[in-house]
Structure formats: C-alpha cells, structure tokens
C-alpha cells in the first residue's frame, strides 16, 4: 500500500546470513548474555524482610485523620461515598453532643464509617473529594491479606488514626 504519511519507515528485515543459519553464533551470543546476568547483582527485594521504596503519593490503606487537637476531622458530608466508583464507602452521620468537642471537630460527625476493602479499588477519588482533609490513602500501609471476607469491612475502629499523644480517655 502506498504511504499515508511521510513518516513511514520500513523495519529492517534482512535475510539470514550463513552464520545465522548455522544457529550456533546466535545461540552463543544468547548464552553470553545470560551468563553475564548470572554474575550480575540481583534485582530482588527480599520482601517481607526488605521492602521496596514506595512513592509518597502511593495510594495505600485508608486512614481517617484527626486534627492537631486530636479531634476527628470527618464531618460525614458523604462526598467520599458519592465519589467512590466502587461504592465501597458507607457512613451514617450523627450530631455532636455537648462535651464531645474534643472528639469531633465539627457539629456533624460520622457515627459509623465503613470502607469495604475488598470492593475498594484504591483509586484515590475519596481522598480527592474530601473537603475536610479527613480521609487519606496512606503511602506506608497496604491492606493486608486475610482469611475471611467479613474482616475486610473496616469500621472506624480500624480506620481512624490512633491518637498521637499518650493521653487517652
């Protein structure tokens, strides 16, 4: 067929030379390459003892952040659930009662907040959707493998970031 553009380039396709027809030179060359690799430094990272470096923006396991004072940032606005293409996030909102100011930053908070880790595709849209910087996908944690399907519904007990300070109630 005649060329459609001026950028056409025929790939090189020579006839086999006698040396190539005789198999052995090419085989020797291949053997040479593999032998070189035999003595090369190995690329393997010995997981689990060593871990490969992950980028800072890696989308790993979710965490629900607290603010500087230790109160939960989430206000149960539901944007993350809407943004989730896998429909993995469910939550129920509740009103903050008096005396709970140190627990929840805003007047509304998530009474339950569940992420189904088996449904989740770790696309990061929830993190992007959150207007309160509450949900993050951590770069240093991965969702672990487990034996039962029920164990993958992460409630607030496993999602909320543990308090940094030693004082607990």
């Amino acid at each position: 067929m005649e060329p459609l553009s001026n950028r056409r380039k025929q790939v090189e396709k020579k006839e086999m030379t006698f040396a190539e027809r005789a198999y052995l030179p090419a085989i020797a060359q291949g053997l040479g390459i593999t032998l070189k690799h035999f003595f090369k430094k190995k690329a393997t990272v010995q997981y689990p003892e060593q871990t490969r470096e992950r980028s800072d923006v890696w989308r790993g396991l979710h965490v629900l952040k607290r603010d500087d004072t230790g109160a939960e940032r989430c206000t149960a606005c539901g944007l993350c659930a809407v943004a989730c293409p896998a429909e993995a996030i469910t939550m129920t909102a509740g009103e903050r009662k008096a005396g709970e100011e140190h627990l929840y930053r805003e007047e509304k908070y998530a009474v339950t907040y569940e992420v189904n880790m088996l449904r989740c595709i770790f696309c990061g849209l929830c993190e992007e959707a959150c207007p309160k910087a509450a949900i993050f996908l951590q770069d240093d944690k991965l969702a672990p493998a487990r034996f039962e399907r029920d164990e993958f519904i992460y409630g607030k007990d496993r999602l909320v970031e543990p308090l940094k300070t030693t004082e607990t109630k």
Binding site: Q10, K13, L79, V82
Partner: protein
C-alpha cells in the same frame, strides 16, 4: 459452552479453505482441541475450539466474553470523572493511554484547552505506557516460544516505568492518572529524576533484549511467515496500530489526527511488509525506540506553566482553597456530586493506544453521566481475524500468533 454456531463459522471459512488447499476431504477425521479458556497461552481468557488434523489446525472457533464486565453500561451510570478508573481496566497494560484518551474526549465535549505543559506530561506518560505495553507483548512472545529469561529482563524495566507512574499518580497498574482538564499534580522532582534515569538505562536493556531474540534463527524460524495477514485483509478486519503497521500500512492516529501536541515531536512510523508474527515483533520493537525518542524530546522541551487547564467548573480547585474559600468549596461540591454543567453533544475522539486506534464515542444529554459511551476497542475488533490467521498453521504457530497480536482480555471483552 460454544456460543458460536459451528456450521456457520465453517461456511465463512469455506472460501478461504479452497484458496489454501485446506478443503476437508470427506473421510477426514478431525480432533477437537479446546484451547482455553484457561490454557496458559491464552493469557487472558478466551476460548478457541480448534479442529486439528494432527498438529495442523483446520478450523478454529473463537469464543469470547469470559470477562465481560459491562463497561459501557457502567459508564452510563457514573459521573464523568468516575469513569477514569474504568478505562484503567480496559487495556491494563497501558492504562495511562486509556485514561488520557478518555479525558481528551471529555475535554473535547466540554471545549477545554489544556496548557502545553500538561499536554507534554501526558505525552510522556502515554509513551511510557506504550513502551510498557509493547514490552510485555514482545517479551511474552519469548515466553510462549520458550525463552522465559528475556521476559524477566525487560520486566525489571517495566518496574521502573511503574515507579514513574507511582510517583506521578500513586499507583502502578491501574493508574487513574490525570483528570478531566489536566493532570492531578505536577511532575515532582523525583519523577523527573526517574524519567531521566529511565531514559539512560532503558536503551541498553532493550538493545540487549533485541540482541537475544531478533537474529536468533530458532526465533526467526518460529515467527517468520507465521500468522501472516495481508494489508488488504487487515484493513477489512479493522486492524489498527502495530498489527496493521506490520502489514505495511502506516496508519497512526498520532500522525493522522494529532492530539495532545503530538505534532511537536519528531518520530517515524515503523512498518513491516508481510504482517507476520516476526513483522509484528519488529514493528513493536521499533516503536519502542520511537517512543523513547518522543519521551526524550518531551522531557527536554517540557514547557513551564500550569499542569491543568483553568476550568474551575470541571477541574477540582486546589485543596488549600477548598478548606478556606467558599467559592472553591461550592465548585468542589458541584464537581464531586457530578452537578457540573455538561453540554449536550456527541464527540468521537481517538488516540493511538497500545494496540491501535482506541476510540471513545460519547453522547451527552447534559446529565451527570454520559448518555452513551462506546469504546472502540482495537483488540475486540482485530481478534476476529485470528481464525483466518491460524487456519492452516500448526498449534505452536497459533500460540505465537496469539501472543504477537497482544490481545488484552480486558479490552477484548469490555
């Protein structure tokens, strides 16, 4: 569970048989061999019911749909921005191309223009994706012909490509990279550094891989004249991409309908002659070099500027503004809830995917979701020709033809 009506498929092939002296004699007893759905050579999953005369294939009836996931139906139920993760999973060997192809389609609908920097970043990512796609395909060809080692050599390089992806978007394979209106973040210094390193290291590895395979007579014998298809048949079957170029047609969307500033770059379109497996291998090899050239140019000439379009209605405002400014928060809510104003219209946009013209046909009725989103999936279209390509060959040929076609199950079945 053969969904194909066998007799019908046979009549289709009758003419072909006559032409190639393959017409069955009446007394000939054929053996039926089920290639797939879990046969190792099918990689993804599709079934080929082969009728064999000894080792020779007399007929093949393909069955697909084993991972049909209803992409087009899902797309009708999700807001525009949530479709990006879907496109990831179509051709998962080169997800960024799919992502960005989709984004460009929507941008075409919305009428947004993207700053040069974002376009160049896209080009870099798409070419990296093309490299990783071709790299898998060509090394898998080695695996299927028994040379496993080359595969692992180049897979190490693919890890480096993944490192770059990871730095740019935070994931390795299903990237969800970029947003409607640009990229989600600028290239970090580390990402730039990784690209730079990749450009330095990869040519050596790829040259070594070529040295191992290209002129090895065993490999050449296995691939030359295997699974050949003429340019005319290939066009009739809707081939695009490297498989069409191997048959000698220099059709490349990047050149014919340049998008994302592809017109700025110098590169060539490698074409083959016979459209056989060896040609496909060579064309992909050459394309990897061309992609490297493009990345190098884009990396060297990366313009300054913003990494996303100035389109507050569609592109999420920066997080810091969302926390502080009311206007930004309202936009943020509108975009996330999918309430952004989407114009009515229909667009078709195609990009040069790893396997050919990846087209998106989008009809919008102004709602929060596409009214209809049809994907032109190159694999689905050219896999039809597989029967014609393998009949008359041997079992081993069929397997190499399959891997050289680079049929990606996710793209095939949608």
């Amino acid at each position: 569970m053969a969904t194909e009506n066998k007799t019908a498929a046979l009549t289709e092939l009758e003419q072909f048989r006559q032409d190639h002296g393959l017409a069955l004699k009446e007394e000939q007893v054929l053996t039926t061999l089920n290639l797939g759905p879990t046969h190792p050579a099918t990689h993804g999953i599709f079934q080929n019911i082969l009728q064999m005369d000894g080792e020779k294939i007399m007929d093949a009836v393909p069955t697909i749909g084993y991972i049909h996931r209803a992409f087009e139906k899902i797309a009708e139920r999700r807001p525009f921005y949530q479709i990006t993760p879907l496109t990831d999973r179509m051709n998962y060997c080169s997800s960024p191309i799919n992502n960005m192809g989709y984004h460009m389609t929507v941008e075409k609908l919305l009428g947004i223009t993207i700053p040069k920097r974002a376009q160049y970043i896209r080009v870099i990512m798409m070419e990296l994706a093309r490299i990783s796609d071709h790299l898998i395909c060509n090394s898998i060809l080695g695996v299927d012909s028994g040379a496993f080692t080359g595969f692992l050599y180049v897979m190490q390089e693919r890890e480096h490509i993944y490192d770059i992806y990871e730095e740019v978007c935070g994931a390795r394979l299903t990237t969800n990279m970029g947003r409607i209106g640009g990229m989600e973040r600028d290239l970090s210094p580390k990402a730039l550094h990784l690209i730079d390193e990749f450009l330095k290291r990869f040519p050596k590895v790829w040259a070594e891989f070529e040295k191992m395979m290209t002129r090895n007579r065993i490999f050449m014998d296995r691939t030359i004249d295997v699974g050949a298809i003429s340019a005319e048949r290939a066009l009739n079957y809707g081939f695009t991409g490297p498989n069409l170029r191997a048959a000698g047609v220099d059709y490349d969307v990047r050149v014919m309908n340049p998008y994302s500033s592809y017109e700025d770059f110098e590169f060539e379109i490698p074409v083959g002659t016979k459209g056989d497996t060896y040609d496909r291998f060579l064309v992909r090899n050459a394309e990897v070099w061309e992609s490297l050239k493009i990345i190098e140019q884009a990396y060297k000439n990366l313009p300054e500027g913003s990494y996303h379009a100035d389109a507050p209605h569609y592109y999420l405002p920066p997080k810091q503004q969302v926390y502080t400014s009311m206007e930004a928060l309202i936009y943020h809510f509108k975009i996330v809830m999918g309430e952004a104003d989407i114009p009515v219209g229909e667009v078709y946009h195609s990009v040069e995917g790893g396997n050919g013209e990846l087209g998106f046909y989008l009809i919008s009725d102004g709602g929060r979701t596409p009214y209809r989103l049809h994907f032109r999936r190159p694999c689905f279209i050219y896999y039809q020709a597989y029967t014609e390509m393998i009949v008359g060959g041997q079992l081993a040929d069929a397997i190499l033809t399959l891997s050289s076609l680079n049929v990606i199950a996710g793209e095939l079945d949608a």
